[in-house]
């Protein structure tokens, strides 16, 4: 075929090229390619470390610490909610942390944590070690979600376990036939597995909305393994750490899984406010 400038260029043929052998040689993986691929896989490996050490856990987290109640907070607003309301009402001990790397993630040490840093830490309640909590504010990429699930759940006993996941999503992802101006953001929606029988704190997520990323992976895992699990998804119009969004999770405090864990709500609100002011990034764009 002739291009605009009159030069003749061979059009790509979808039936297969004539000089297939030449191309195949070019496409064959060199040892360097294999090495690069191996290094990349190693870099993207999800490692579950014992608390404040650099040694990995030999078994999955829930095999080592059997749990009856597992609360997972994913995203900075969910993490702030759990920090102020749940972790404040009891003594929690760190049992491990997940370190992973991907293009979005910058994990640092888990000693001085703030909701603006990316991390993934696991705690259990000292007074009742079968209650586990995970604060995950780093992004777990698609290829790492399976590894994360294996390292956390593994082949643990799946009886008598209940999982609650809290996360946020931007309201522009919410598909509805209503006009978007009639939506009162932030608002909560729930999605549960078949085995979850308890009453929900908000309405179910309607079709065609779907859940993404790690919360979806956890829920799918629980559905496959018949673990009762519920996801509370907060649709908000502010994706950074925001008081109104965090407070939108409050209805979840009345759920059976969190009710026993939350004691001092006014104090929690104060802690939340302090958390907000210390982490407020001064932006003068909007007034």
């Amino acid at each position: 075929m002739a291009t605009f400038f009159g030069e003749v260029v061979r059009a790509p043929c979808r039936a297969g090229t004539e000089d297939e052998e030449e191309d195949e040689e070019g496409r064959r993986e060199t040892p360097e390619d294999r090495e690069v691929r191996r290094q990349l896989a190693r870099k993207r490996e999800v490692r579950l470390l014992r608390r404040q050490t650099k040694t990995s856990l030999e078994v999955s987290l829930l095999e080592k610490y059997p749990c009856s109640k597992f609360i997972i907070a994913i995203g900075n607003n969910a993490v702030a909610f759990v920090s102020s309301f749940v972790m404040n009402s009891g003594v929690w001990e760190e049992v491990g942390c997940a370190k992973l790397w991907n293009e979005w993630c910058r994990t640092t040490d888990t000693i001085h944590l703030s909701p603006t840093e990316a991390f993934c830490v696991f705690y259990h309640l000292k007074s009742n070690p079968s209650v586990l909590l995970c604060q995950c504010s780093c992004y777990v990429a698609e290829d790492q979600q399976f590894q994360w699930l294996e390292k956390v759940f593994g082949s643990c006993s799946r009886k008598n376990m209940q999982v609650t996941v809290l996360t946020c999503r931007h309201v522009t992802d919410y598909k509805t036939a209503e006009s978007t101006s009639s939506l009162h953001t932030p608002f909560l929606k729930a999605l549960k597995t078949q085995n979850f029988r308890e009453p929900l704190c908000c309405s179910l997520l309607e079709q065609p909305n779907i859940v993404h990323d790690l919360p979806a992976a956890v829920l799918s895992y629980c559905q496959v393994w018949k673990i009762p699990a519920v996801l509370y998804l907060c649709y908000t119009d502010v994706m950074k750490l925001d008081l109104i969004t965090v407070e939108a999770f409050k209805p979840v405090l009345s759920s059976r899984s969190l009710r026993g864990l939350v004691k001092n709500i006014p104090q929690s609100t104060e802690i939340l406010k302090k958390l907000m002011t210390t982490n407020e990034i001064q932006s003068n764009i909007y007034t």
Binding site: Q282, I285, T287
Partner: protein
């Protein structure tokens, strides 16, 4: 949808100008502003943004005078607001020099709205990401409150709110704006503060208030004056609660 939201001048098949609608989302990122038109007073109340420690508070203003008898509060992009306010101020003086009369509130609102509309129809420019509440008294002594939005529309209101949580505040105003509530100036001021307290975190110290009385210049309330009003409102609330509990007993 993404094919029709990049260029400002492109309509989508169902008649939306997505850039204009997105500009309205930018307005929601600004803190709340409320405007109330009383019988002899107009009130503008805003939620103050928290300033950084080293920032000069006086340079972070949401309420600005456009002329001696007109002022406005905005919500949305700070820089866009600055540009619009400057243009409006120049227009106010230009009008005064040309026709020797101060602008009417409707005139300057129409000017701002026309300016905003122009930016929704030219290529290479984006709409202004601000909504404004413009208040003032005309020569005939009638109080006015207008609201403009990024699409360039403007309407007169008895009371309105813009910015974050505007819907909540507007619902409050719909329930509580009565002839009694604006019977006198003080009541109108209290109504504005009560409306803001519905959504402002940490109460009175994050509120800024401005009023214009007939034939008087703009008055900005000091923090103390606002605190006094807030305390009065709290007392009234307590009274109302006590009366309620007495009734049930």
């Amino acid at each position: 949808m993404s094919r029709y939201d990049r260029a400002i001048t492109v309509f989508s098949p169902d008649g939306h100008l997505f850039q204009v609608e997105y500009a309205q989302e930018a307005v929601k990122k600004g803190s709340t502003a409320v405007g109330i038109r009383g019988t002899n007073i107009v009130v503008l109340g805003v939620e103050k943004k928290s300033v950084a420690k080293l920032q000069d508070e006086r340079t972070v203003r949401k309420i600005c005078a456009l002329d001696d008898h007109v002022c406005m509060a905005f919500a949305g992009l700070t820089a866009d607001a600055r540009v619009v306010i400057n243009r409006a101020r120049v227009e106010c003086q230009s009008h005064k020099l040309t026709v020797e009369d101060p602008v009417s509130v409707e005139y300057i609102t129409r000017f701002i709205a026309t300016l905003k509309q122009k930016y929704t129809q030219s290529n290479g420019r984006r709409p202004f990401g601000i909504s404004a509440l413009i208040v003032g008294f005309d020569d005939d002594g009638i109080p006015r409150l207008y609201q403009t939005d990024p699409s360039g529309t403007y309407h007169a209101w008895k009371a309105n709110a813009i910015g974050r949580s505007a819907k909540t505040v507007r619902e409050f105003l719909e329930k509580n704006y009565t002839e009694d509530a604006i019977a006198n100036d003080n009541e109108a001021i209290k109504l504005a503060i009560r409306a803001l307290l519905e959504v402002v975190q940490s109460g009175g110290k994050n509120i800024e208030l401005a009023i214009i009385r007939r034939n008087q210049p703009l008055k900005m309330f000091s923090a103390k004056e606002i605190e006094l009003q807030v305390n009065e409102i709290e007392k009234e609330k307590e009274e109302a609660e006590r009366k309620k509990s007495k009734k049930t007993v």
